[in-house]
Structure formats: C-alpha cells, structure tokens
Amino acid sequence: MTAPLKDITPAERARSTSFYEASARTRLELLLDAGSFVEFIGPEQREVSPHLKIFDLPEQFDDGIVVGHGRLDGAQVFVAAQEGRFMGGAFGEVHGAKLTGLLRAARQIGSIPVLILFDTGGVRLQEANAGELAIAEIMRAVMEARSSGVKVIGLIGGRSGCYGGGGLIAGCCSALAVSEPGRIAVSGPEVIETNRGVEEFDSRDRALVWRTMGGKHRRLLGAADVFAADNVQDFREAALELLGLVGPLGLERLKAEQERLADRLRRYGACEDAVDIWTAEGIVHAETVPELPADQFIALADRIGRTSRDAR
C-alpha cells in the first residue's frame, strides 16, 4: 500500500511537492515554517465576490486568494497566494482588496516583508472595472510599501503564470523568483495572437510561448533574480535569498531601473526570438537552453544571466 506521509519532515515534503501543481494553501503551508501561518479574512468569513452571482458563476469563500502572516526561518512575513485553479487566479474586487489591505498593513508596520505567490491570468472579466481598479490600487500599495522600507518579493511558478495586471504588479516588486513552468508577461499568448495574427505569435506553439514568457527567459533577461526548481522548498530558499539581497527603494534605484530597461530595449529590440537574445548574450548553443535541467541552467544563469539587483 501507499507509504504513509507521517514520517516525512516538512522540508522533505516541500522538496517533493511541485509548486506548479500545488494549491495556494499547500504552497503557503509548505513555504512557511511549519504551523506558523495565520490567515486574514479566511474562508469562514465568506467574503465572496459580489459580482459572480450576476453571471450565475460559482463563488469561492476566499475569492481565490489567501492572505495572512507567518514565519520564514523564524522571521515574520506577510504572505498572499493566488489560487490559479479558481477563475485562473484572476483579480476581482474582493480578491484585489485583500491584497491591497495586506500591503497597506505592511507599509504601516514598515519592517515586515511581503511575499506574493502570483498565479493569475490578470483581471477577472466579469468584474472588469473593479478588477482594473484593484490592479491600480495594488501597484500603488506596493510602491508605497517599498518606499516605507518594506521588501515585496514575488514568487512565480503556478499553472496560470503571472499575466495581465499580475504582470504589472510583478514589475513593481522589489525582486522576483521564477521557476521553469512559471510565465511572466502582460498580454497572454492568445491575446497577442487574436490582436496581431498567428504569424506574429502562434499561441499553440508552446515552446515559443515558454521561450518568450517562461521562467528561464525571464531569469536570463534579469526580470527575475532567482531561478527556482519546481518545488516548494526551492521557492522557500529563493524567498530567503531574495530577502537578503534586496536594498532600499529610492530615486537613484528607480533611475537605475529606467536605465536597465532602456538598455535592454536598445540591445535586443530588434531580436526576432528569445534564442537570438540568448545568443547575443554569449550563450553557446542557445537553442538548447529550454532543455537544460534546473541545476545546469542555474549555473549558466549565474554566469551569464543579468540581474536587476542594483536597479528595480
């Protein structure tokens, strides 16, 4: 029969649990120190979306996001985890308000960092206005929290990726960690194909999708600072590493970020494909990057990949 799980230590369980496959609650349970998580506005309070019932759509008692606080290696952290399996992790009114409130609390306290486990396709179309407003509020709340000295770390490796407004919020974070299946972008593959044609972007060519938006490309470009293997323990270690790296936000840093992005556009604006960028970065046999196992890729990225550590 199946071996019971009781003899396995939390770290072993976190190591053997795919971040990509896990639910938002499992991710938090295994990411944080065992038993330390305390939820705000939990499902028992039934703060559901006021909009979905108009469309005869099922609600979820946590509206697809889990927020709260816990400990990471003993230190207090605020956490938010989106549930990509509920409406693709999309931002609605309540969903957005829970994250905004968490970030504002972090700003007030000032010393406790925030981890956001993104897993989202963007704004929930059924509550588009409220969702768009939520994105704007969250972006402001992230920047205000960072100005007050709060580190805001994004962890990206879920099924729904980090798209739409989620991609914008990720761009505001102090630093990001990403795994291979994780994707970061604003417009999704289908949106680009619909608007610009299949010749511009074939959304069914999944190898193209991943080498354009996937974790490896984002790490090599410096959009994400740490590459995690697809398990919760690796994301825990990535979060700890990033918390140690991130510096304070100020005008100089924003200028440096502007320069980093402008430089990236100058260098690669004319590239047709991610492989061209990797080749320009000096990677030999760049076309094999998607096939590299995590450890070999991390070695490559540490050698060649850019970072935004001095910027952002």
Binding site: M1, T2, E21, P181, R204, D205, R206, A207, W210, P290
Partner: protein
C-alpha cells in the same frame, strides 16, 4: 463471346490516360488534379487515404479541385474522415456516397451533413470490418495514398505511420485498381520497401510532409486524482486477479493513469512481470516509464505517434521495427492481434446505459467507431486458452462443462461517474438511439455492446458483470457503481448491498484501497517533461505539449 478481362483492360486505359502527365511514374504536384481527372471515372469507388493519423492531404486537395464534368458522384471508401477537405468533396459534388470508420475531428460537421442529406451514408464501420469489405464488396477502383518516400520505380517507404496503406493497396492493386501515392520525397533508394513498386502506378511529390496528428499523447499534468483512483481500482481489482498480460488500452486519461501507475503502485503490489507485458497499442508516450522500468516486453502498433520515432528506434526489443530501424505499424494486423491475441481491452467512453451498451455518439456528433469495437469484443473464432480468458469464461458460466466452455475476453469500461464538464457517464437511454431514430438508421451506433462488457470501473468501485445472473442483477450492478448520477441514485439499495456481498460490486475499501491515497505523487511521470526525462531525451514531444 464473353470477355473475362474487362477490368484489366479498363485499368490499362486509365494508366495510359495518366501516363501522358508522368515522367516514368512521377507526376508533378501541380499536375495532380489533371492526373486524377485522367484516371478517375464518375461514380468510382475511391479510397482517399485518410487514416486514423496520417493523411494524403495533397491528393485530397487535388481531388477537391477536379472538373465536375469529368469527376463526380464518387463513392468514398476510407477509414478516416479527418480533414475538412474530406467533407468538402461532398459539399462540392465530387463525391456522393460514403463508407467509413472514424471521423473524430469532423464529428460535428459530418453529423450536420448527414442530417442535411449532403452525404449518402453506406455504413459506419469498425476498422477491420471496413478493411474486410475492401476485399468483398467495397473494393476501391482508385486508391490515393500517402508515403514518406519513393524511389524512381515506385517502391514506397511509409515510415513509422504505415497504418492502413498495405491493406488499401492490396485490395486495390490486385483487383485491377489504380494506386496513386503522394510522397514527401523521391530518393535514389528507400530506407525499406513497405509497398513494392509493381503495386504503385503514379507518384506525386508533395512540397510539404503529409499531415499527421498526435492523437495518443496524454499530458500527465492533466490526470486527476479521480482518474488515479479508478486506475488503482483497475490494477488491483482486475489486472491482478486475472493476471492480465496481453492487452490493449484506450486513449483516455484513466488508462494513461494506469500506464503511469505500473512502475509505482503496480511495483508496490508486486505485479511486475505478472501483468501488462504484451500490448497491441500505439506508441503511447505515457507507457515510457513502464517500458524503462522493465514492465513491458512487446508492443505491436496500429500506427505511430508524433515525437516517439527516436525512442522506438532505440527500443527495438519492445517495438516492431524494420531493417532501417524505424517503427513498422500496420492497422489491420494490429486490430487482428487485439481481437484474437489480447485477453483484455480497457477504455473510456462517453455514455453507458443500463445494459452496459456504450457509445461515443451524441446527437450532434458522430465520431465513428475506429478500433474500440474490435478491441472490445469477444472473438468467437478464438480457440487458444489463457488464464484470464478461461477464468472470465468460468465466472460467466460456472455450471458448464469446463472442456466445452468458451473463455471470455475481459472488456472493461473505465471512467468517472461524471465526465468532462460534469456530464454523467451513465444514462437511461443512449443518445445513439435518438440519433438512429432521427436518421432512420437500421442500427444505432453502439461502440461496445453490453453483452461484451465484463467490468465497469468508476471511482465508486468495480462492477463485475460476468457474475450477474439476470438482467436485473446486471442493471443494479451498473447502477451500483454509477455514483450520484440519476442512474446511480435510482439504485435498489438492498440488491446493491447483496451484489456487494457476492463480490459482484467491489468498493475501494473491499479491495484495500484508501481513496485518500489516490494522489498525483503516485504517477511515475507528472508532466510531459518527466516523460522526456524517463526516455533519456529520446522522446521529442510536439510543441503543443510543452511547458518549457
């Protein structure tokens, strides 16, 4: 005076008419339509190679463009109606009558055209049945086939997707018909001869490779815990007690789950070498971990699967390969193997009724039959004994004399009580019957008849229909594993309890299975990337299955 070689003479006239367009046997792609106009006559029976996987797409486009005053009212006899052009032929009037077996991707349109009277339907067949009729009363006058390469003489290499080609060519070429092949390239020599040149009359070189659809790749990432539970029930409740070694799997996610549980759950149950050693099966990528773990001794295949070529080449101990090293598939032989030499078929379906009849037809879709009916049927001509076959026969008729008792093939339907989009698997009346009434068919399109089904597996348990002695017991055994569907909720609880005491119905706990153990961590591979890793990098999945 009676003449006895009219057909041969007619064939020679047709060849002569086409020869003007050819250099030797080779015709330029731009002349393909003119070639077809020259050799095809109105009302001809034409096999346009639409297989389950590979498609003679250039020739189907060429046929669609013919001058209707020269070619019309054709009778298409082909196993697969897969490309839009296959049906455009009927819209345009090039073809009128259709006999076929499978229409997966065109199932909605073919239903509309049948209702609209655009197609005069002969019958929907099983593969073996259509192949059989090629030799009796549906012999093609012209066959339009697809191959990977040809030499100048016309010897053809069909590559891993040989599929139906040898059968189609045999029936056509040896009965005074014309064989025209589209090939991806013309070479000095072909890697191996799948079709000898004297059976091929014209060759058309295509600019791009013929279309092949990856039909048998199931992404392990999409397998649910419900499917894992049904897979555990099947392994422990059926594979193990009957000792099933020779079998065929359907293409659903539940059977993919079984394939991925063999090296983990199956290993733990000590079943390695005792079950699932010989398959009639396409090269399913999901079987790679079981092959790599030494479970599988031999696989014969109907067709191939996109991305599996190098893996198959490197595992010739397991697969059938030619002197060139690549897979040799053959649908007719593999169907025969599945019918006569396998002790079990296990697959999913869309609807099961109270007698156990199953169908994948819904009122708006006619997907055809393909291979499942022969895989999922007892072969009445079978005479060799085997342990699972005899055990099943004994369960069905315990009182008969052992030496006169027929065995039974195990025919297992597996699925969750609520399928895709929460549609119930169990129904009081099949949509297929409604369809037959609407279309005035003489037979409802039943995929597997209830009297062939021996077991039904759902997350609620295993129903062994061999042990049912009356129609009412059979109905209650089916209701007893139908969960919370309307069919399941109308069960007679007392009778279901008695059937459970007799072992006709076995719940997960009766089999020592804890449903909470049905976890994705049990899968030997949880993603396509895991399959690539298991294969040592030999499996090259098509881009649409990647997430890296």
């Amino acid at each position: 005076m009676t003449t006895w070689q009219n057909n041969r003479a007619a064939r020679d006239v047709r060849i002569a008419a086409g020869a003007g367009l050819a250099r030797g046997k080779v015709v330029e792609a731009r002349d393909a339509t003119r070639l077809l106009e020259a050799v095809i006559r109105p009302g001809d029976r034409v096999c346009l190679e639409g297989d389950n996987q590979k498609q003679a797409d250039l020739l189907s486009q060429a046929l669609l463009a013919v001058d209707l005053s020269r070619v019309n009212d054709l009778h298409m006899v082909q196993s697969g109606v897969v490309l839009p052009e296959h049906l455009d032929l009927f819209d345009r009037g090039v073809a009128k009558r259709l006999d076929y077996a499978y229409s997966g991707p065109q199932s909605a349109r073919i239903a509309r055209m049948l209702f609209g009277g655009k197609i005069e339907l002969g019958a929907v067949h099983t593969y073996l049945e259509l192949f059989a009729r090629y030799f009796i009363d549906l012999t093609p006058q012209v066959a339009l086939i697809a191959a990977v390469s040809a030499d100048r003489e016309g010897n053809l290499y069909t590559g891993p997707n040989t599929e139906d080609t040898p059968t189609v060519v045999e029936a056509t070429a040896f009965k005074d018909g014309i064989v025209i092949a589209q090939v991806n390239e013309i070479a000095e020599t072909v890697p191996r001869v799948d079709i000898p040149s004297d059976r091929v009359h014209f060759i058309v070189k295509s600019d791009k490779p013929f279309f092949v659809e990856p039909l048998f790749t199931r992404d392990p990432a999409a397998i649910t815990e419900g499917q894992i539970l049904t897979a555990m029930l099947a392994i422990k409740g059926i594979y193990a007690p009957y000792g099933v070694q020779r079998l065929n799997h359907g293409i659903g996610f539940s059977t993919a789950a079984i394939e991925l549980l063999l090296p983990t759950y199956g290993e733990r149950l000590g079943l390695k070498g005792k079950i699932a050693t010989h398959f009639a099966l396409n090269p399913h990528p999901a079987l790679i971990p079981a092959i790599e773990s030494g479970w599988v001794r031999q696989i014969h295949s109907f067709g191939s699967e996109v991305g599996m070529d190098e893996y198959i080449r490197a595992r010739s101990d397991v697969y059938f390969t030619g002197p060139d090293g690549s897979l040799r598939s053959n649908r007719a032989f593999c169907q025969t193997a599945g019918l006569y030499a396998c002790d079990m078929f296990i697959g999913s379906t869309l609807q099961i009724d109270l007698q156990g009849n199953s169908s994948t037809v819904t009122t708006s879709r006619i997907a055809g039959f393909g291979g499942a009916p022969n895989m999922g049927a007892d072969a009445r001509g079978r005479r060799h004994p085997s342990e699972p076959w005899l055990k099943a026969g004994a369960e069905a008729a315990p009182d008969g004399a052992a030496l006169l008792r027929r065995g039974r093939k195990l025919v297992v339907q597996i699925g969750e009580t609520f399928g895709d989009k929460n549609v119930p698997l169990f129904v009081e009346k099949l949509d297929a019957i409604e369809l037959a009434e609407k279309l005035n068919l003489e037979l409802a399109p039943i995929m597997i008849y209830g009297d062939d089904v021996t077991h039904i597996v759902t997350e609620e348990g295993v129903a062994n229909l061999l042990l049912c002695r009356t129609a009412r017991e059979r109905e209650q055994a089916i209701r007893g594993v139908a969960g919370y569907t309307d069919v399941g909720r109308r069960r007679d609880h007392g009778m279901v309890a008695r059937l459970r005491e007799r072992g006709v119905i076995r719940r997960p706990e009766d089999l020592g299975i804890n449903p909470l153990d049905a976890d994705r961590s049990l899968l030997a591979a949880r993603s396509i990337k895991d399959l690539v890793r298991w294969s040592g990098g030999l499996y090259a999945p098509p881009s649409k299955f990647r997430n890296w």
